[in-house]
Symmetry: C2
Subunit: 298 residues, 2 copies
Amino acid sequence: MSDRVTLVEVGPRDGLQNEPSSVPPAERARLVDALAAAGLTFVEAGAFVSPKAVPQMAGSAEVLSALSPRAGVRYPVLTPNWKGYEAARAAGARDVAIFGAASETFCQKNTNCSIAESFDRFVPIMEAAKRDGIAVRGYVSCVLGCPYEGDVPIARVVEVATRLYEMGCYEISLGDTIGVGTARAARELVRTLKDVMPVGMLAAHFHDTYGQALANLYACLEEGVRVVDTSVAGLGGCPYAPGASGNVATEDVLFMLNGLGMETGVDLDAVIEIAASISQTLGRPPASKTARALLAKH
Amino acid sequence: MSDRVTLVEVGPRDGLQNEPSSVPPAERARLVDALAAAGLTFVEAGAFVSPKAVPQMAGSAEVLSALSPRAGVRYPVLTPNWKGYEAARAAGARDVAIFGAASETFCQKNTNCSIAESFDRFVPIMEAAKRDGIAVRGYVSCVLGCPYEGDVPIARVVEVATRLYEMGCYEISLGDTIGVGTARAARELVRTLKDVMPVGMLAAHFHDTYGQALANLYACLEEGVRVVDTSVAGLGGCPYAPGASGNVATEDVLFMLNGLGMETGVDLDAVIEIAASISQTLGRPPASKTARALLAKH
């Protein structure tokens, strides 16, 4: 299983937007830049959403404008609707992400529209992005379970993922939003999707709510998935808060991938330093076991 | 991969002996009994070791004598030397465990003797246990890495495990004592050992220091391992203490096994309650993500 894995660092976006305290844009830009310097080639830099709804992502345009280009590094931003897309384009974004859901109820609660309506919103974004030469990543949330509906039929995930694929997304990120999935379900999902689209277009985006993320990722790697979304310090989940459901930590995934002999081009020690620094900013220890273990050793 | 998995609950021994505060024997007995009532059929009840060296295990005879027999439930205790064995037998133990190491330096530091000398100590225990009709489990520590030596050659693990097997241990528990192993190494170890002894005699005993335990267990399950050592609430590792290296939590393993459709006979909800209770006794939240997530939901 020796191979190359691309990590998509989502801490500065999916992580920080779920933290109770907001980090100012200038500091977020420093975080993004440090992650890129550590070898991460995809660093989600922000979200173009209502600052009232998500104050943690306010000033994402400032984050983008503060970043100096680095060769081979992309800074995608979340643009859930047309307004967000226009703002991201105006801010110079070259990579955006749209956010679909495999659960009707989650889609309604999260984006205030049906799944069908969410695709109506995506169409003009995809068309504009094609004209603008902007790459679009497609997220699918709730792929292994929904907080409202419970089990999500695999056919529904395939339907949504296929539609994003056919619309022209360059990658489909499969989100276990509430971390309830286990390895067999993760593996089955990938196996099913492989029949519909190239496995190289699939990314695994797992939250570690029940501690299952690494086992699930291992099963996905065995199925050929080679893109993994991770969050430095496990941002988005606080080790003190009961039930907080952060993204799987970049450090924990790196520790595993290094052990599996898979290349990432990412420097684990540098990521640990960044994890310590951003955790200090947030006033708590990293949620990542690898970070805590390595920091205790130093 | 539908199958039956036996969990060996080590929280009351391996877990509690690594906690900073001691739990009195009567309370430990209640913990052991509650775990058995939750469906765990092997519950490590204590260690017959020097109370000066390991005060947390003082009164293990009291723990055993406080337990009422339950059909089909075994209460193994750790007996690292002859003195411990005699005390355990006198206390009525029917299952004991001996503790070997795959690392020479760890063996010296931990038991003050060489690996060869440790086997000299095991011989009279094995002989007496055979006469006494007492079952002996063999632990091998440092199977995926040593805190002093770093990498541990797989051949050394095979050597130690084989010797315990040939001596008559009914099961060989492979301990990743410092939690540095990753899935490929865990898988390779099991693959190699399967050539020497039946896979049904192997148990996986993983610490979750770097968050790798579940992924490693998943790899071992794929290789046919069906016995897993776990610790309720992830006892032995404190979520507040940086770098604390507890056993993998019973709840996290159960969540995975339930998702994989593997039967354990253990009631997850009951284990969560026990985890909450013993964590309250220790004055901190459970180290298990599943316990924290489920307790937050309730």
